[in-house]
Symmetry: none
Subunit: 191 residues, 4 copies
DNA sequence: CATGAATGAGCCTTCATTCAT
DNA sequence: GATGAATGAAGGCTCATTCAT
């Protein structure tokens, strides 16, 4: 095995990091707080992640990986473009609502200089694949007046905005989710 | 009086902070680097900003203020809703393209726990006023199926996305600016 | 367990602090000088004492504790009041002569605003007990024209004066010690 | 004139220093706080006292000078030894009660390494003269079984103790003053 | 391999002192 | 001479990382 140490402990550390980052912010999250939250010794953290930066980058990739996994589950391969995009939209919004800490942390990491270009590219590649899938093997050509990555970014931006509003007003979650998608979908069709 | 505390020096520090934060990231920006970049002694920084946190918060407010000012200049009070929104869109995108460091820093600050709720509210109030203006005194009712703050956030999110794409591909700046607005506007105006 | 936090190191730091404070004065004693004198890393000092103030207060209490311990050793429970007071007098003077650094430091700490009321009260309680003992279970009523705490303070004040004179003129140590006590005792016993 | 600057301002600074030192302690008394309390500019302090250390030493000497002056006023040149000592005792205790800030500060300065040997000697000389006076031209030989400086120090120590008790219990000021002196006086007479 | 004590570079901040106005 | 802004050395403290146990 590549990693002789306990996979559980590794995950405990990643989860603890997520919690601590979400609660206290990247700037106020010493590794000692993370290891404590994870229930491991301070030194142990460094046998799973060589440096704090490595931990941060692996956390970034891991969260993105989870997101992608969820957005892919139950993907309507046979559906039309709208159905596909709506699936992505809904799964993303739902993920964000179900994982507020993760979403908060991803938000911080996205703008942080601690996450390397390599990590970003690796994750973007995963999502590019997803968005590719959203269009592949389709005869419909709606939305193609915009470049695909732009559409993907717009989906991401609007979905994040949507999630933020739902978090402020959870009672209308379903309404916002639908309204947000409509705004996105209608925006796609050039008139 | 001895030398009066110069507004210039204060601005020099804010500008230096912007540069250093943009280049090295909030996490790797010691106050010593900022004062050096500003050409003042380390101690001087603290005579203009009591603590680093205060500096960060004042920088946040200052950048937001500049943004708001630019978006308000030449605002088409007499125009229709689309003209008003397009004005906001264009001025914001242009500001972002003209001030990449500022935009990078605002991005970092927005997700940072170092910026207080007070600073955020103060700045949001300014923009709320702007968005209010975008709709006020109009008889058109397009877009009212979405709550105004949601529209504002959507504009912001899509405009940022647009700016990012222009930065990657400056040759098509005008195209992206127009396309982005169209996407936004169409998203709003359909049922 | 890894290396357990050693009591030795803690004492090394307290002793180093005593030496440095005595030599350079509270005002000119950076923690770096203390840790260096103790032979530990600068950061280690703070793992044994959370702040410099805590170190100072614990040092204060520790010295007082040592003093009290010595004054209690061999206490003549069966002796008359004079014997008891003389025991306190002699042990205190001897302690002061044997521990000049400690005495110098206690002098500085006593007048310092860095020592909290809590530390003072805790230490005073210890000595109150001792002075109580000096009078308890006795049928003699000499000296009771003065309140006990006043007598205790007077003993302390005169004993310190005595120590200072012995330090200036060590050849007559025994004479001063006896003379000082006589002055104290006569002061008490006459009306 | 040796000092072309305003004597008033100099005194204002010394008084301010006394107040600030008494309230906040030597350790927490920046020169900026002193100049502010004195109502002068930060820089001005340094045109009256070349350095902070100089200020501290001059303050020490000044307070001692005031004390000596008061103890000398109305000195019973014709009285017997007891009357003379009682005069010193009473004036000292009264001075301490009337000038709590000064007394607090002198207490701090006495144990501080910031006060130079030169300042101490200069002040001690003044008091030596006073104590000399207490015995001069007298035929009485009480108390001469103790060395004069020892007697002086004992007086000082007991008077300070007395003052402290009066401060804790001002209602019995007169009692403590008398009791303290009795203790001192009785202590002097070897039996 | 786990533990957590030990390390020391680095950071924010204070403050005595200087000096331009 | 008075002012107070400017300076920068120095200090307390944190925390990522190492390493003895």
């Amino acid at each position: 095995m590549a990693r002789p140490k306990s996979e559980d402990k590794r995950n405990a550390i990643l989860n603890a990091a997520t919690r601590v980052f979400a609660e206290r912010g990247l700037a106020h999250a010493p590794t000692s707080a993370i290891s404590k939250a994870a229930g491991v010794a301070e030194g142990s953290l460094f046998s799973y992640f060589r440096t704090k930066d490595v931990l941060i980058n692996e956390l970034y990739c891991e969260i993105k990986r989870q997101m992608a996994e969820i957005m892919l589950a139950g993907f309507p391969d046979k559906g039309d473009v709208r159905a596909r995009l709506e699936h992505l939209w809904n799964t993303y919004v739902d993920w964000g609502l179900a994982n507020p800490a993760q979403r908060k942390v991803i938000g911080q990491l996205q703008t942080s200089t601690l996450v390397t270009e390599v990590s970003r590219l690796e994750s973007e590649r995963r999502f590019a694949a997803i968005h590719e899938l959203a269009h592949d093997a389709t005869t419909e050509h709606i939305a193609l007046s915009y470049p695909k990555p732009f559409v993907a970014a717009a989906l991401n931006a609007l979905a994040n905005t949507t999630i933020e509003f739902v978090e402020l007003d959870p009672a209308h979650a379903a309404d916002y989710r639908r309204a947000g998608f409509l705004m996105f979908w209608n925006g796609l069709s050039k008139d």
